[in-house]
């Protein structure tokens, strides 16, 4: 078991799911409440990472954000290094990669809140922000837990993007999925199996949490 890779992956998944909680909530709330006629285009864009192969994302992070592109050069002048082969690069790739797994459950939960409750809250003198904090959020906990857990689990299992932009640096970009891949390719099946089993158990527990939470709260799952 490669603990360095394990903790690196946990760090990556935690950071990504926390950031997605912060940026996912406003996006999801907008999706749930907007009546803009072109909203479906935004929804489609958010859902893209579900269907796109990770190689597409990896390719763009590597080439479009590499040191030859204006965007990459801007990032380099800001931080002194390119996005590829860094922990930040993996964070940015994973944010894009796991975005729908946070936003979709959030939006589904927000959309399921009875609009009469929102009107009642407003008629009692609560501002929209207060209504959101005191009515919408408490009624959406199952969806928020689902989105947070799914984005964590999805980042934990990320492979293709990391293989393409990570550069396999121990302690920086060598995640557990890469570590398992290397061991399997090297025919070290016993140690690959150890790590794979740990990942399997963790993923099962995370998904059990998702389904458990949604069983109690009724149907507010990512798949509705």
């Amino acid at each position: 078991m490669n603990w360095e890779a394990f903790w690196l992956t946990v760090r990556l998944a935690s950071l990504v799911s926390v950031v997605l909680l912060v940026i996912g909530i406003p996006i999801a709330y907008w999706i749930a409440s907007s009546r803009w006629r072109w909203k479906f285009l935004v929804e489609a864009a958010v859902a893209l990472p579900i269907v796109l192969p990770p190689t597409v994302l990896g390719f763009y992070v590597l080439v479009a954000l590499g040191s030859r592109s204006p965007l990459g050069r801007w990032w380099e002048s800001l931080t002194g290094h390119t996005l590829a082969f860094t922990f930040e690069g993996l964070v940015i790739g994973s944010l894009l990669y796991s975005l729908p797994f946070a936003v979709q459950p959030f939006a589904a939960a927000f959309g399921a809140v009875d609009p009469r409750l929102l009107r009642a809250s407003a008629s009692l003198g609560q501002s929209p922000v207060q209504t959101f904090r005191r009515v919408v959020i408490p009624l959406s906990t199952a969806g928020l837990v689902t989105g947070f857990t799914l984005s964590f689990a999805h980042t934990l299992g990320e492979f293709g993007v990391v293989l393409m932009v990570g550069g396999n640096i121990p302690g920086v970009t060598r995640t557990v999925s890469i570590d398992i891949y290397d061991r399997v390719q090297d025919a070290q099946y016993a140690s690959a199996n150890q790590t794979a089993l740990v990942l399997l158990v963790i993923s099962f527990v995370l998904l059990a949490i998702v389904y458990g939470v949604n069983r109690r709260a009724g149907m507010v799952g990512p798949w509705r």
Binding site: L62, V63, G66, S67, R68, H81, T82, A84, F85, L163, G167, N168, I169, D182, V184, Q185, D186, A187
Partner: protein, 260 residues
């Protein structure tokens, strides 16, 4: 009528399958990633001469070898390190009499044009230049060129000073792509990559002396599980000929006969 339609479809499908079987002459080759430009050219020549289709799969030699052990349906294996085919022969998975050493692989230090480092003058010491933030190599765990790169860095005595800046490609082609795309500023690559026209215009290279890493004896072998032994052996015969040899030489694979 519906039953008739289905029957017709089945018959057509059967005919199509029989035709496919009759034409399934294609042989499948697993090859070290350093051959990614040379081998397609050789295959094109072979096809125009014989009509034989050859499907190519590239990867790190170690990875391909593991795949072959797990039953991958390849007919021929080109390895950047002779040890892999030799182990396959020892385990009864490849045929000793077909083992052919086709080249000695060469490692080069490659830098893109926009990195202001004089590799010709400095050699490996160029890697200590602060402009070189990342150095790409192939994965030493399963790519022979990765092991050669590690050995060369240790031979030069700079491994400990550069190890924190190493980025590891899954195979030697990915290592080349890391520098070629500008994400790394130097790479220890295969000479065959540096010789590709696309790479020639984008950077410069310095050939790492052969005595600073274990010789990369490269060898091809026919796999025992292949159902097309004859076609596979014929392709390896072509590889020994002058037409294939010229292509290999174009990409810097020095042939054993020329070496001394």
């Amino acid at each position: 009528m519906r039953g008739n339609g289905a029957g017709m479809f089945l018959r057509l499908a059967l005919v199509a399958m029989l035709c496919a079987a009759a034409y399934a002459q294609e042989i499948t080759v697993a090859a070290a990633a350093d051959l990614s430009a040379a081998l397609p050219e050789i295959v094109a020549k072979y096809k125009s001469q014989t009509g034989q289709n050859v499907a190519l799969t590239f990867g790190a030699s170690g990875n391909l070898s593991t795949q072959i052990r797990n039953g991958a349906p390849f007919d021929v294996f080109f390895s950047a390190d002779e040890e892999y085919p030799k182990q396959l022969i020892a385990d009864g998975l490849a045929d000793q009499d077909t083992l052919y050493r086709y080249a000695v692989g060469q490692l080069v230090l490659w830098v893109p044009n926009d990195v202001p480092v004089d590799v010709q003058k400095l050699g490996m010491q160029a890697l200590l230049d602060p402009a070189v933030k990342k150095i790409s190599i192939a994965n030493p765990q399963h790519a022979p060129y990765g092991r050669a790169a590690e050995a060369a860095l240790k031979h030069e005595g700079i491994y400990d000073r550069v190890s924190s800046r190493l980025v590891v490609g899954e195979n030697i082609s990915q290592a080349a792509q890391f520098v070629e795309s500008g994400n790394a500023q130097a790479g220890l690559l295969a000479l065959s990559h540096a010789m590709q026209p696309a790479m020639k215009s984008k950077g410069r290279y310095w050939t790492v002396p052969l005595d600073s890493y274990p010789t990369l004896n490269q060898a091809a072998v026919v796999l025992s599980r292949s159902k097309q032994q004859k076609a596979a052996r014929k392709f390896l015969e072509f590889l020994r000929g002058p037409a294939a040899g010229a292509v290999l030489a174009d990409y810097g694979f020095s042939l054993p006969a020329e070496k001394h």
